[in-house]
């Protein structure tokens, strides 16, 4: 948005005019974008107001799908689960990433390797990560229970992914494992731009590392933290891959999130109209939260340095 405003770098050269011909440069991208992003988005709005099995003629039902959505306990619970999940990602991804960025911020040899390794799960596919961790958490042969037994704590062994008390937490942990590196790199890049003189001065004043973290690092990273928070929130609402591969809503829909439920409604039970209404709700929720978040972030002026 800010980018759009700054865009006026003089525009076309004199004599070139506000050429319609220049529009040609945008046409290929616009066509692709309109066909596969904007059009289905608009079509969703229409289909969400119909009863449709996907094959026959859609039948207009007004807001009935939305009324049903607000009455659908599993659907409502899925938003609770995704909210918990997002709170989890703020801890296990964003905060953990920030702490690791500070910990691994050093020019000494070896630290670059640690950063590279810490980041590497980001590159893995979610499906591979999900399958791998399903095996790690497996009741009979999983790594977690094997280690507990090895330490003589057999009683602590749990069916991690198939009991409501731990399933969602496990998905959060895996999500943290997968994405903490992503936030670590973003914070790391920001840390490098903080002038060293600030820390030198603080050291002279006798401030310890912890004090420096809270009085220098955190305030100066405010804007980055806000952006990472936004990424975690919007990304969390769209979360699907890990949930699908690890639990797919089980046990008893306690790990059902909006997207897994949408896929079940739309594809598994042939209620496309209803499924599409759920996607519209998701779009509205994500857009509203993003806009509110950006307003809030703009108002709480990020610190300049």
């Amino acid at each position: 948005m800010r980018a759009a405003r700054n865009n006026g770098l003089g525009g076309g050269r004199p004599g070139e005019g506000a050429g319609i011909a220049n529009l040609l440069f945008v046409i290929p991208a616009l066509t692709l974008y309109a066909l596969f992003v904007l059009w289905p988005l608009a079509a969703s709005l229409y289909y969400s107001l119909t009863d449709w099995d996907g094959i026959g003629q859609p039948r207009w039902v007004g807001l009935a799908n939305f009324a049903r959505a607000f009455d659908d306990d599993i659907h409502l619970a899925s938003y609770l689960h995704v909210t918990l999940y997002i709170l989890g990602t703020l801890v296990f991804e964003v905060s953990f990433g920030l702490v690791m960025a500070v910990l691994l911020n050093s020019d000494r040899p070896g630290f670059a390797l640690l950063r590279g390794l810490f980041f590497s799960p980001v590159v893995l596919s979610m499906s591979a990560a999900g399958v791998l961790w399903t095996f790690v958490f497996d009741y009979r042969t999983g790594l977690v229970n094997a280690m507990l037994k090895g330490m003589g704590l057999s009683d602590w062994a749990q069916p991690w992914l198939s009991q409501p008390a731990t399933a969602l937490l496990c998905v959060m942990l895996v999500s943290g494992w997968k994405f903490a590196g992503f936030y670590m790199i973003l914070f790391f890049a920001a840390l490098r731009r903080i002038p060293r003189s600030l820390y030198e001065a603080a050291t002279l004043e006798g401030a310890g590392p912890l004090r420096q973290f809270f009085s220098i690092t955190l305030p100066l990273l405010k804007q980055n933290i806000l952006i990472c928070g936004l990424l975690a929130v919007t990304g969390g609402f769209a979360g699907f891959d890990l949930f699908f591969t690890m639990t797919n809503g089980q046990p008893y829909n306690t790990t059902e999130v909006p997207v897994t439920w949408i896929v079940k409604m739309g594809f598994d039970s042939d209620q496309l109209g209803y499924g599409i209404a759920l996607t519209v709700i998701l779009t509205v929720v994500v857009s509203l939260i993003s806009l509110l978040y950006l307003r809030f972030a703009e108002r709480s002026h990020a610190v300049e340095y």
Binding site: L23, D107, G130, V131, C228, T279
Partner: protein
Amino acid sequence: MRSSIRTPRNPPKTLGEWLQFGIGAVIVAGMCFPAFWMTYSSFKTNREIFRAPYALPETWHWENLTKAWEDGGLGGLYLNSIIVTAASVILCAFFATLAAYAFARLEFPFRRVLYRVFLIGLLLPPPAVAIALFTQLRDMGLLNTLWALIFANAAWTLSITLFLMTGYFRTLKREMEEAARLEGADTLRVFWYVVLPLVKPAMITTGILNTINIWNELMFALLFISDDASRTLPAGIVRFSGFHSTNYALVFAALTITTVPIMLFYFISQRHVIRGLTAARAD
């Protein structure tokens, strides 16, 4: 954090620095362990995995890998993933660069409005259109073809690529372009002969980021492809592990085969990946 203010390229000196490195190394090793466990377990027999889950294999069963490769049809999955990823990344790179050039340098009707429309895509999650896009692709006759994934992935990476490329164009000086114009080159020539070589580094960086994302894409691949012949790796792996949920050795072998190449790709292109990410989001 204090260590960053010392002179670079020296081994840790103070106790604090050794402690910092030690804690970091322990955490990183703990996080890497499941991946190593998966890799060496793929050389064990199933019985061995059950009996001693975290011991190294007694004998290294390389045949597990070939069996997983054949049973899982991994060759076909790989080929499809390569085609889909390469085609979407190239399509997206060219379309986004053309558009970014226009948005950053040229004047044309509706420029601001159109840019904002593209930016909407930054906030939208792909599931927002999943079902409607499914029916649309079916009506277009593209379901179960690689085209469905190519178009969908290219379109859904356009916004971020366009945004990054436009930002990159703004950091470039205009002198070369203006010189070319004085020589009488038209806009298209300027773009092709002057601009494109200049922005190649940014195209590579965004291209590598898109490659990783599209290579790993699961939701579209699950929804739009039900045919074995057009399935891609991430969806294929989920299916394979569902079929063989008790044959750990085989599943681990398949996972190892599919993750090692992308890891190598990452470690080779690490510099680009990290530069791309920090350009994308840190500011």
